[in-house]
Amino acid sequence: MSTPASSGASPWSPPATAAAASAPPRESHWVKALPFIGPGVLFIIWDLAVRLGFIKAILLPMPADTIGTLLSGLAGGPLLTDFAVTVWRTLQAFLIAAIVGVPLGVLLGSNEKAYRSVEFLIDFFRSTPSSALIPLFLMIFGVSDVNKVAIAAFGALLIVVFNSAYGVMNARKQRVMAAKVMGASRWQIFRDVLVWESLQPTFVGLRSAVSMALVIVIVAEMFIGSDSGLGHRIINSQQVMNVKDMYASILAAGALGYALNILFLLAERRIVHWSGR
C-alpha cells in the first residue's frame, strides 16, 4: 500500500524515499508539492517588491506580466523566432562537439601516451573562458553566424574530449581483465568494454557541453554583431528599456537551459541504464 506512494514521492533523494515508504500516503502528497514552494515564494516576493514600490516597475515588471509576455512571445511572436535561432545555433555547436569530441576522446583515452601529450593543451583551453577567445574567433571567422557556432563548438568540444578520454582511462580495470582472461583481443576489449565503460562519463561531458554551448551562443549573440537570437534580444530590449521583453527573454533562455539539461539526464538514464547500480 505504501510502496506506490513512495516510488513516485521523491525522486531527488533516496533516503527520503525510504522514509516515505513507512510514512502514511497523505504526507507523500505534501512531499510532491515541495518542488513548487521555492518558485512560488520567489513569485510572491517579486510581485510584492514591485507592487509595494521597493523596485520601480520601469526596472522590474510585474511577474504576471513578464510570464504573459513570455508565453505570448513563445506562442508565435518574434520571441519564438529568436528562441528557435538560439536553439538551432546551440544544437549545431553541440553536434559538432559531440561528433568530433566523443570519438577523439575515446581514442585519446585508449592510448594514454597520446592523451598525456595533449593533456596540457586540453586542460589549458578548457580552463580558458571561451568568451575570452571571441576576438580571436572574430579574426578567423569574421562577424558571421559561423563564428558563433564555431566558438561554442570549440568550448563544448574540449569538455567532451576530456570526459570521454577520462571515461576510457578510468574504465574498471577488472572488467578489462575479465575480457582479457576470456581471450579478447585488444580491439575486442576496446569495442566490448572500453567504449561502454566510457559511456557514462561521456554523457556527463555531453550534458556539460550543451550547457557550455548555450552560454557561449548567448554571449556571442550579445556581442558579435547579431540580428537574431535570445542574446541579441536580451541586450536589444535592455537598450530600449523594454524590460518586460528583456525579462521574458531571460526566462526563455533559462527555460531552454533547464530543458536541455533534463533532456540529457533522461537520455542518459535510458541509454546508460546500469549507471550507479
Partner: protein, 276 residues
C-alpha cells in the same frame, strides 16, 4: 658461407647454463619453474617451483600479503611475471583455455549486457555459431539448475545470482583450468553454501582442474584435493597437504575426523608460518 663465418666469429657470451626444465610427476597439469616476481624492488616470488595436478581442486592458503591472488593471477596471465616459465600440459597460456571467477562479481560482469549475453560472451569471442552458443547455454542452464531470469541485467540480480552467472560464464567455453579468486568472500553464508555445492557438482561432472584462493580455511579444505600452504614473502611453498575424503562431500564431512584433523594440521602449519 657468411652465416657460418658469422657464427664462428660471433660474439662470445659467458655461458650461463639455462636451468634444466624438470617436468613434474605424472598427472601434473600446470608446471611452474623459476617463477620470479618483484614488487617495488622486493622479491615476492623468487625461483618458485610448483606442480599443480590435473583434474584436482587445489586450494591456495597462506598469510596475508604472501601473494595468493598474485600467484593465480600470474598463472592466469593477468599479472606479468619477471622471469620463469609456466606451462599447461606443456603448452603456453596462449594455447590454453582458462576460466576466471573474480571476488568482485559486480565489477567482473558487463552491466550493459543481459546476464545471458554475459555468459555467452566468451563463446562469441571464440566465434562459435549461434546454434552452438544456444546449445551450450542450454547445457549450462540445465547443469546449474538456474532458477532466476537470465534475461535480466546483472545488476538486477542478487549477489549470489551474479556470482553464479559469472561462474557459468567462466565455465561456458569448457576451460581446461578454472581460477577462483576468493569467489565467496562477497557473499552471504547461505549463498556461499549454495555456490560451494554447485562448484563441487561441476567438478564431479567435468573434472576441470581448479585453483581456488580462499581466506577461509574451512572452505579451502572442504573443496580441496590438495591444500597448498604458502609462507610469508618472499613466498615459498610451506607444505602441500593431500586431502582425500570421498566426494561428494557433504555437511557431514565437515565434522568427520579426517576433515577435522586436516583442518587442524593446515592451521598449525599456517600459524607456524605466520609466526616465523
Amino acid at each position: 658461407m657468411r652465416t657460418v663465418d658469422n657464427v664462428i666469429n660471433g660474439p662470445v657470451y659467458a655461458d650461463v647454463p639455462k636451468p634444466v626444465f624438470t617436468p613434474g610427476p605424472a598427472g601434473t597439469h600446470i608446471t611452474i619453474r623459476g617463477l620470479t616476481k618483484y614488487f617495488a624492488g622486493w622479491p615476492l616470488y623468487e625461483n618458485f617451483d610448483l606442480d599443480i595436478p590435473k583434474q584436482k581442486i587445489v586450494s591456495v592458503f597462506g598469510p596475508n600479503g604472501c601473494g595468493k591472488s598474485t600467484l593465480i593471477n600470474m598463472i592466469a596471465g593477468l599479472i606479468p611475471i619477471d622471469s620463469g616459465e609456466i606451462l599447461f600440459d606443456g603448452k603456453s597460456l596462449k594455447d590454453t583455455k582458462i576460466g576466471y571467477v573474480f571476488q568482485n562479481y559486480r565489477e567482473a560482469m558487463f552491466p550493459w549486457m543481459r546476464t545471458i549475453d554475459n555468459i555467452a560472451y566468451p563463446l562469441k569471442l571464440e566465434g562459435r555459431s549461434k546454434a552452438e552458443v544456444d546449445r551450450r547455454m542450454q547445457e549450462l542452464v540445465a547443469s546449474f539448475d538456474v532458477k532466476f531470469d537470465l534475461k535480466r541485467y546483472p545488476y538486477e540480480l542478487s549477489g549470489g545470482q551474479q556470482q553464479t552467472a559469472s561462474i557459468m560464464r567462466a565455465l561456458a567455453p569448457n576451460p581446461e583450468v578454472l581460477f577462483l579468486d576468493e569467489p565467496f568472500s562477497a557473499l552471504d553464508f547461505e549463498m556461499t553454501l549454495f555456490i560451494r555445492e554447485k562448484l563441487q557438482e561441476v567438478f564431479l561432472q567435468t573434472g576441470t582442474t581448479m585453483l581456488l584462493v580462499s581466506h577461509d580455511l574451512e572452505e579451502a579444505v572442504y573443496l580441496a584435493d590438495q591444500v597448498l600452504l604458502l609462507t610469508k614473502r618472499p613466498t615459498k611453498v610451506a607444505e602441500i597437504l593431500d586431502y582425500g575424503d570421498a566426494r561428494p562431500r557433504t555437511l557431514e564431512t565437515l565434522s568427520s575426523a579426517s576433515f577435522v584433523s586436516m583442518k587442524k594440521l593446515s592451521l598449525e602449519i599456517f600459524q607456524r608460518e605466520v609466526r616465523r
